[in-house]
């Protein structure tokens, strides 16, 4: 018998009870898979997604300004390729620096396949299909160049990459909202995946520093700071996000004079930020508690000031411990953005609801919801994979990988 068969037999059919259970499970799973595939390929009518793909992607963003989003996409793909290549060409001092490890080769292949197949399957026009091919080609080209020539720039390369992302974020904000000579596009015209990603990235980026400060405040020796932090964290964690969102829409309007109150979308984004910060603070606090007292003492005895000791010794260790919990928070934050549809904003779910309300696409709920689920899953998987890679890179106990 071949080894594969032998292993299958050992794992699935070791005893009669195992055999029955395995057969039953396999039967149920194949039935479900068969039913799903038959629906997806023969009954489902994907026209609802194909026709509305732009709506799902960017909402009612004016057509004549959409080149700005494409430009941003080009920049993002180039930046991704650059970071990927530079990180690979700067391994940690105790690691072997293989430029194209197996996982990277798999990822590259996957990118090519998706980039070639997906736009065609969506039935996009040839010019748009070509843009996606170009984007993937650009990413891989920059990845290759950065991996090949990255070592020449030394540690400067890593620092530039770290600096590039915040700059790119600001550039992206200008491209999306206008200003600096570009026509302004008001936030009420943003929508779909664009709005979802914008709101969640804004909240993730800002809730991080606020959460760290709250966690430090909660452990502070100053009573006012400590009790202030505790009160804030416990109040926010005790209230459902949806009430806070409604509260934010109403209260901010009353509190601030007309012109100063931010747009509805920004109000919601700020509420998301402050909400996530309270949860993040607890994740960071658990990380801080995991760093032994001796670390701070050693840093202080070497003459480091308290802020410097925090910055260089305590926080790097605490945040690494807290990383999985923090990313869990980010993932649920991303999913919480769907609540924005309940206060009338057209993010992914809101857009989906308007599409399904259109008489032309009546009864196509399954197709729409499935697409939404896949989109969210992709975003969350990207966050999760990124965090695991970061965790491994930062883990001083990880065995240096040979491949």
């Amino acid at each position: 018998m071949k080894p594969v068969l032998r292993r299958l037999r050992a794992e699935l059919f070791a005893t009669p009870a195992d055999a029955v259970l395995s057969t039953g499970l396999i039967a149920v799973l194949s039935l479900a898979a068969f039913g799903f595939l038959r629906w997806a390929f023969t009954q489902a009518q994907w026209a609802v997604i194909r026709v509305n793909s732009t709506l799902f992607a960017v909402g009612r963003y004016p057509v004549e300004e959409q080149w700005r989003l494409w430009l941003l996409l080009w920049l993002l793909f180039a930046a991704t390729g650059l970071s990927w290549g530079v990180l690979r060409s700067h391994p940690r001092p105790d690691r072997s620096g293989v430029l194209w490890p197996r996982n990277d080769r798999i990822a590259a292949t996957l990118l090519v396949v998706l980039g070639l197949w997906r736009p065609a399957a969506m039935g996009l026009s040839l010019s748009i299909q070509a843009r996606w091919w170009g984007l993937v080609a650009l990413l891989l080209l920059v990845r290759w160049l950065a991996g090949r020539f990255g070592p020449r720039f030394g540690p400067l390369g890593l620092r530039l990459v770290a600096l590039m992302w915040p700059v790119l974020y600001l550039v992206g904000m200008v491209l999306i909202s206008g200003g600096l000579g570009l026509v302004a596009v008001s936030p009420s015209e943003w929508g779909g995946l664009l709005l979802t990603l914008l709101a969640s990235s804004f909240a993730i980026l800002l809730c991080f520093p606020i959460g760290v400060l709250l966690a430090l405040g909660r452990r502070s020796d100053l009573p006012l700071l400590r009790w202030g932090s505790v009160l804030y964290i416990e109040f926010i964690r005790g209230a459902p996000l949806i009430t806070l969102l409604f509260l934010g829409q109403n209260i901010l309007g009353f509190l601030l004079p007309g012109g100063l109150a931010p747009d509805r979308i920004w109000r919601a984004a700020w509420v998301l930020t402050f909400f996530a910060a309270a949860y993040l603070a607890e994740a960071v606090r658990s990380g801080l508690a995991a760093v032994p007292r001796g670390q701070l003492e050693a840093a202080r005895s070497l003459g480091l000031s308290y802020p410097k000791a925090l910055q260089h010794v305590v926080l790097p260790q605490a945040l690494r411990v807290a990383l999985p919990a923090m990313v869990g928070q980010f993932i649920s934050l991303l999913q919480d953005t769907t609540l924005l549809s309940l206060i009338g904003l057209l993010e992914l779910l809101g857009t989906a609801r308007t599409v399904m309300a259109n008489p032309a696409f009546l009864g196509k709920n399954a197709e729409v919801y499935l697409t939404l689920a896949v989109l969210f899953w992709c975003c969350c998987a990207a966050l999760g994979l990124g965090s695991r890679a970061l965790e491994r890179r930062l883990d001083p106990h990880a065995v240096p990988s040979a491949t």
């Binding site: 001092p93 105790d94 032994p292 001796g294 670390q295 003492e297 050693a298 840093a299 202080r300 005895s301 070497l302 003459g303 480091l304 000031s305 410097k308 260089h312 010794v313 790097p316 260790q317 690494r320 930062l394 001083p396 106990h397």
Partner: protein
């Protein structure tokens, strides 16, 4: 063995310390340490010896008495505390290396951040120090990949990289497996020959006998006996010291 000069490096007078729960850890402990001197502090556990040396670089505060380190009076003034910590290095029982930094970065972190010295210059010095404690070949590794003895030697090198005038050792070999104690003691002995001022809390009798200029016994938060090693181990003047020696020898 080099002879200490008459210049006073640490002057602790009648130091008293209470913990917030009311426990009094130090009850008027006094000690004078001269430049280049190696002083070993012994004593039963709970006698306040660790607490005492931790007051010398302000890791512990105290409520009564006075401490002067290298001419700097320890007070609540934060600038004084930072100045003292730059002059005083410390080696801990649990090593307390920074696990997220490579061995080399453990050494260079403080000199670059605190003394603002150029990184390349500090790295050169760090390599020399690692050479001196015998682990230059581990410079790129992380602390978790080293044995306990190696980690403690890195910790000593890390303290030395700040070029302190005084080194405090808080039971540096107590957390080590027996076969690793010697490699650490040898490094410490080499340092003693280089006339750096050292205050060492330890239970290593052989080290105290052969390396120390003076041995001090602490009990119940006080300094009970101070004598040269020969006298301390063979003919102590206090009953408390005799009892302690009977227990450990």
């Amino acid at each position: 063995m080099s002879q200490p000069s008459s210049e006073v490096m640490i002057e602790a007078r009648a130091v008293e310390k209470w913990y917030p729960n009311g426990f009094q850890a130090l009850r008027g402990a006094s000690l004078t340490v001269r430049r280049g001197e190696v002083v070993v502090i012994m004593g039963p556990s709970g006698s306040g010896k660790s607490t005492f040396i931790r007051t010398f670089n302000a890791l512990e505060d105290f409520q009564k008495g006075s401490i002067t380190v290298d001419g700097i009076v320890l007070s609540d003034d934060l600038r004084n505390i930072d100045a003292v910590r730059r002059e005083v290095g410390m080696v801990f029982q649990q090593f307390n290396l920074f696990p997220h930094l490579s061995v080399l970065d453990n050494l260079t972190l403080a000199p670059v951040l605190v003394r603002k010295r150029p990184k390349a210059e500090v790295e050169k010095q760090a390599w020399a120090l690692l050479e001196r404690v015998g682990i230059a070949e581990q410079a790129g590794k992380y602390p978790g990949q080293l044995s306990g003895g190696q980690q403690q030697r890195v910790a000593i090198a890390r303290a030395l990289c700040m070029e302190p005038r005084i080194l405090l050792f808080d039971e540096p070999t107590s957390a080590l497996d027996p076969e690793m104690v010697r490699e650490v003691l040898e490094v410490m002995q080499n340092l003693a020959d280089d006339d750096i001022t050292m205050v060492v809390v330890t239970h290593e009798v052989k080290f105290a006998r052969h390396v120390a200029h003076r041995v001090v016994l602490m009990a119940d938060g006080e300094v009970v006996e101070e004598a040269e090693p020969e006298v301390f181990f063979t003919n102590p003047s206090h009953e408390r010291t005799r009892r302690f020696l009977n227990q450990i020898l």
